[in-house]
Every structure is written in C-alpha cells, then in structure tokens.
C-alpha cells in the first residue's frame, strides 16, 4: 500500500501524524509528509483512519494494499 498527500489540499490539520506517526509526519510549516516508503498490512487500518480523518480529503491511496487487490479478484 502506498499513500500520497495532495500538497494543495493539505492545510496542516495534522490529524494524519496523530493517528499514524509511523507513516505521516509534519514539516516545519505543519503540513503533512509521507515518511514510509511502503506500508505494511498491519499499518493499513491506521493509515485508512488517517485518510478518513483528514477534513481536506488530502490523502489518497496511490497503490492499494495487496490484501485489497486480492479482494477485487
């Protein structure tokens, strides 16, 4: 699973870094940064929470997890 933050949409609420600090950090201005190259299946629920909690809908999955790809088949 991979995620990406849309820098134009991000307004620095910081929710992602609170919910999933292993994957999201905040830069000096308080905007979200993805710090994990790829995300394990264990982390996926927290990452999905972060995506759901962003009031700006600034985070999206750029590459779905292996688990969800299996579901599609």
């Amino acid at each position: 699973m991979r995620v990406v933050i849309d820098g134009d949409l991000c307004q620095g609420h910081g929710r992602c870094a609170l919910v999933c600090p292993e994957v999201f950090d905040l830069d000096d201005e308080g905007h979200g940064v993805v710090v994990a190259e790829s995300i394990s299946d264990e982390m996926a629920p927290d990452v999905r929470q972060a995506i759901a909690d962003c009031p700006e809908r600034a985070i999206s999955e750029s590459e779905p997890s292996m688990a969800s790809m299996d579901e599609r088949e």
């Binding site: 870094a17 905040l26 000096d28 201005e29």
Partner: protein, 403 residues
Amino acid sequence: MTIEGHVTGSGDVLAGFNIYDPDLPAHFHDDLRLARQRCPVAHSEELGGYWLVTAYEDVKKVLSDPRTFISSEGIILGATEGMETNSLIETDPPLQRDFRRLLDRLFSRRHLESVEPAIREVAAGLVDGFVPAGRCEVMRDYAGPLTAAVLSTLVFGLDWETNREAILETAEAVEATSQNNGEAAFEARGVMDALARRLVAERRSSGESRDDIIDALITGSVAGRPLTEDEIVGNLTLFVGAGLDTTKAVIGSIAVWMVEDPAIEERLRDPAWTKRDLDEFLRLASPVTGVGRTVTADVVVGGRRLTAGDKVWALCSSANRDEGVFDHPDEIDFDRPRNPHVAFGMGVHRCIGSNLARLQIGVAFEALLTRVRGIRLEPGAEIAYSPGVVRHPVSVPVTFEAR
C-alpha cells in the same frame, strides 16, 4: 423558507436564528438538527440577514472556496463597525497565503515543543493553587488563567508572573467580544489594541530580536512589502483573542464530560488520549460555532441559490454533528471509523492555533490528573452554555481528592 414549530414549541426557529441570543444555548443543537433535517441552507432575518449553512458537505463547499466565499468583508455576523481585525482571518488569498507562510512555522507542533515546558509550569502552578481547597471552578480558576498566560506569553511576549493582573483583565475583556459584539466588545478591542501597539513599539526600540510572533510580524513581508502597523497589531490581537475563549471552551467541555462519566477521567490518564479521544471531544465541543463569509458570485449551495453580496454563516459545530458523516452524532464515540471534524475549520483558514490548542489541552489535563482524582461536579451545580460565537460552559465547579 421558514420552519414552523420548534422542539420547545415556540415557532419560526431558523428565520430568527441569532447566535448571540441568550436563550439559544438551551436548544442550540436541537435547532441545528432541525435545520439539517428540514432546511440545511436556511435564511435568518437576524443580524442583517444571512444564510445559515448547517450540513457538512455544504459547510465544506463554503470553506473550500475562498474566492466565492470571501473573508475580507468580515467573518463575524452582525459585527459593530470598527471591529475589522486587519488580520489574516479577514484576508483572502493570495495575501492570506503570504500571512500563513510567514506564521505557520511559529504555530507548528515542532516549534511549539520549545514552549511546552513553560505551559507545564503555568499549569502546575495553577493546580498547586487550588488542590488544597479540594475544589475549583475549572473555567475561572484553571482554563481561563492558563490560556491567558500561554497566549500572552507566546504572542505578546509578556512575562506571566509580573503581568498577571493585566493579562487576566484583558482575557475577561475579550470574553465580552464573543458574547454580543456591542459597546463592551468595542472597548475590549480598544484595550487589547493599545496593549499590542505598546508592545510592538517596545520591541522595536529594544532592538531585541527573538524567534517569535512579534518579530515575524515586524520583520516579515507580505505581498512583497512590510506589514502595516494595523496588520501587525491586528494579527497580534487576533491571536490572543481567538486563542483564549476557544481553548478554554474545550478544556471546560472536556471537564464537563469527565464529571458526567468517571470512565472518562480514567481514559484521560492514558497519554495516548490526545491522539484520538481529543478529536472526538473537539468534534462535539466545537466551540467556534461557525464562521462568516460574503458571497462574491451567485452560487448554489445545498439546492439554494445564493446571490453576490449575501452573508453566509458556515456552522462548523453543526457540520460536526451531521448524521450523514457521523453515526449517532450527539454521542461520544472514541472508536469512530471516521472523524473528519471541522472544529478547527477547514480550507485555507484552518485554525492557525490548532496545535497550540491541542498542546494546552493535553497539558491542562495531565497537570490536573497528576495531582487529583475523583473529579465530580459540585453538588447542586448545573452546567449552562454561553451564547455567542464561541460556545463554552459558563461555569464548571468541581470537587476532587488530592492524590
């Protein structure tokens, strides 16, 4: 469109919706639920006439489009003339973005780490002051002085201990500005304004340079030019004013939930509470009931046609209870699958102080719960909420045991 009938039977709820109405708090959320169900974009005749936007997606639409819904014609409904803030909150992009670029770093979580020890010290000192009595009034004895100390130290660069009285007086004056925006509010603004101007002049003549908000405003530039004196002073007074009642309101609201349910006191003892639980409290407390905008071009919101020049009140506190986004929205649920609340607003004007608010709230409860347990509401006390733009419990008298 008017809504006849009212949950307490008094008719025409939304046409007469006025955030400053002293009778509103008792049925505030009932009225908003009614609006969301029957007329999500309703017109109120009060305060010069405005559209009341209550559904999450509609509030989002308004706050995501700063070109159609501008802030530079005022964000407080029914504001007295002369109450313009000359601050970033009443500025539109692109200028507004320059202000944020100048200031965001100083309100970032990373930068605020350096002020955390000072906040802890103030909190511990306040708690020391009331623990022996076995009781306190959370708003007056704790949340009020704490936020006043933090804001005046951080924003005005004042020393808390030597300026305590003046700071507390200023904080009380600020409360008036939320309640009714009348004469008292105008005077309070004047007091803060004068104080800010004096501090700026003192900093300039001291030749001192610090990595703080006053310095950033004095030395920084927006739109390729230095800030005007009005902009410097306007932003300083905004940060103090906007940061006081709001953070205080959340501390008070959480205290209310805590005394209503002892399981919550235990939950707050887990340091992890600020990572998830706090956002559920924020969603429900949502002390900034809403923000105002002015329409620049005809636009449809929630099926209603708004005309250029119309005033809009985007009710964030209502969006936060939208049944379409939050299941059982009026209940505390720390395990919500999604909580994209807009208690700190959203869009380009997302509350610049959100990290500072979170920090103060976390420290406030940690300092309190380190020293006391068994926090209960004073027998016979009743909780009432304030009218006004910032909704907070008026008084939270509690008893406790020292640990």
